[in-house]
Assembly symmetry: C3
């Protein structure tokens, strides 16, 4: 997340009770997880395995639990016992969780001609465009941005927290959820079916591109970016931080792995499991995913196994 | 959809700004998509590839974007630039979307002894029978018909719009949703679990037959017809316009393709992918679907491959 | 279910109109389905195939539709025409369905610091601990027990009825739902995503162990017991009465069969189908489930089939 305005490193150190190694008057512009971090940002690291990666990332300031590290030129560290807790404290300070107790938060903006049906919840700082229809029992959590001419059918949840946890198996509770500092952005002319779940990003936005259509019971993980004019059939699941380029088609019950890319215009047939990135312009099938005609051929070979076995036995 | 009462062809032409080729005093009884169309009905076609199919269908009146076609005896055409938009205009005229802003619409009928729990939405012209129980946070959209002794558990959505779109890849927004003119019919003694989605038909009814039981998170597409006394386990997905005959069993996470038929008493084991129609009275498994014992045998052959390979190598 | 206090056998016989064969002054402590029944309990049986199993179970009292059976020493039978209906009558007497018509039932207990967001339903006798957050449009049905520091995201349904039916194919309605007499217990520090469904037990509790995290659109069947610190990714389905030991990981869209056990620390990769019990400490994949490296090897053998075929042909 970007801070509303930059703050000094000493102010951050006070907030989290850290010792600064470096210039305390430097200016901090934001805080992000490692793969989204930029110059001027804070990042945190709490495991020696990742120390070097974090120290040599784009981050200018590193919240860390060990002083005995080599600090690159122009960077500073903030020494604390529990870097993850410090991260939570900083993000919570700038983006506190203040749940609305109204059906439609006072800070929500609803465009002209938009219909909101009963029992729908619209959280804080949500913005909805014009001529959009939100069916009953929908939940739109804080900071979501929804365009014009969008349809969201009943029971769908937009902007749920990312399924993203700090894991340590040497404590009583292994998983601690990282604050979700990102949001959901739904562009114009998107249609989303019933009882879908679209999670907000951890530090960036989960984006559904213009004109994309999504059927019922679909899961879209945190920080997923879906292009324009995609078709996503019922019960598809897309794991975190994956990209679908424009015009992708995923048929029913397809599963897509995290942090991969599905190329422009690719088609994945029903129940396919997209284990790694795939090129655009082709049709795929199976788990692990294969080009559909090759998977079909493999199935045919499989059916010829008894015949092959017999041939081999006959040769004896 | 059938119109409430027949109208003249010239009245329709005025509504959509069409040029009539044929007798303007003919009477129009309804409008339907091609596979449900009957004599006296309107249908529309906007792609030369489907001109002949539509002109020679049961439809008496064809909304089309080309005058240079051969009109069969006893039929008339309505010439417009955008046949799909004309279809939308006609269906919207007879079945306008006027969303209820109440928890239970004034035009809904609720039978004696029926319990509606909090935060449930009941739309316009919904009819619910006797001694039915609707749990909290359920959404029942307009025109749904629900029988006696039905149970619908929390969060389920009945009568969401069909996932059915007019597609043109040469415009900015590729997909335009066809108005759903059908509804959902749930017969007596049906039980539906939590967070399911049962879509309404595009021009006919999505039907759940008497005594059928459906577990949680199940997707039933538009115009699906499910027979009596079927069991549908959790996370099953059934695509549009498919038929399940009586007494069918689908175990967990089964996926069923669109516009196919599953025969009476068929059983599909967990995670099966029913790619094409299957006969009744048998047990099936796998993707693509196979008779279960054959699939099992195939798996055994697969396990013997290393042994076969060795045999072949030894023969060298 | 355990009765609030023991009752005499003759009182039960009056309630269900049964003939007692045995001592009418014996004391009955509860009623349960066969696999949970204990000494002093009632059980019911209505099919000759299961007569012996039921008569020789832990149950002291057997509701049965046939007098001509051998009653074990120290037991008694209750003769009725329809044992299942008698079971329903008894369970309904002690645990009547009296749906709350309020957003939060008067008999619900909500701990200090707990946040309940709008459009959430909390049923009768629900207990929620401290500092728990319940998002909007959640449904928590009667008798659920939820701990401290729990997060339940929007649209999730806790405590829906078990998908558990008495089946007789010689009557008009084949399936009659057994009353769910169990509940759901969610321990401290559990996090559950959006639009999940966690069913209550039939006669015991469905339990989610401390610190377990569950993503969106997950199905947990009746009487499932999940250990501590498990990770369950999106769209996983777990069928009834299955056990997950501590520290189990199920990735996206995994399906788990009923009444099996997944051992401590086991990992199941995406879309796996866990057909039978698996040992802890290993990584699994595929349907039917296999140790992942073996499944991977099997896939490689499959890819070598054309090469093998060629070898065999060349030997001719």
């Amino acid at each position: 997340m970007r801070f509303p305005s930059p703050v000094s490193l000493s102010w951050i150190a006070d907030l989290i009770g850290a010792e600064i190694v470096g210039d305390p008057n430097l200016t901090v512009t934001g805080i992000n997880e490692l793969h989204k971090v930029e110059k001027g940002d804070l990042a945190f690291v709490d495991h020696p395995k990742y120390y070097d990666k974090c120290l040599n990332s784009e981050a200018t300031f590193i919240i860390i639990n060990n002083k005995a590290v080599t600090i690159p030129e122009g960077k500073a560290i903030l020494l604390v016992d529990a870097p993850f807790d410090a991260y939570q404290k900083i993000t919570h300070h700038f983006l506190p969780f203040t749940p609305s107790n109204k059906s439609i938060s006072d800070s929500a903006f609803i465009g002209e001609g938009t219909v909101i049906m009963p029992h729908t919840f619209i959280g804080n700082n949500v913005s909805i465009g014009k001529n959009t229809v939100i069916f009953p029992n929908v939940t739109i959590m804080d900071h979501s941005i929804i365009g014009d001419n969008v349809v969201i059918q009943a029971g769908t949840v937009i902007g749920g927290d990312a399924f993203y946890y700090n894991t340590k198996k040497n404590r009583d509770v292994w998983f601690k959820k990282m604050n979700s500092c990102g949001n959901v952005v739904i562009e114009d002319n998107v249609e989303i079916g019933s009882n879908c779940t679209i999670d907000r990003g951890v530090s960036a936005s989960t984006i559904i591109g213009k004109g994309t259509i999504i059927d019922n019971l679909v899961q879209v993980g945190h920080d997923v970016v879906i292009g324009k004019n995609c078709i996503i059939a019922s019960q598809v699941g897309i794991a975190g931080a994956t990209t679908l380029e424009d015009g992708v088609t995923l048929w029913g019950q397809v599963g897509v792995n995290k942090t991969i890319t599905i190329g422009k215009g690719a088609v994945v047939l029903g129940q396919g499991g997209v284990t790694s990135s795939i090129e655009g312009g082709k049709t795929y099938w199976g788990t692990p995913i294969m080009v559909a005609v090759e998977k079909h051929r493999e199935n045919l070979w499989l059916k010829r196994l008894p015949e092959l076995w017999k041939k081999v036995m006959d040769q004896k």
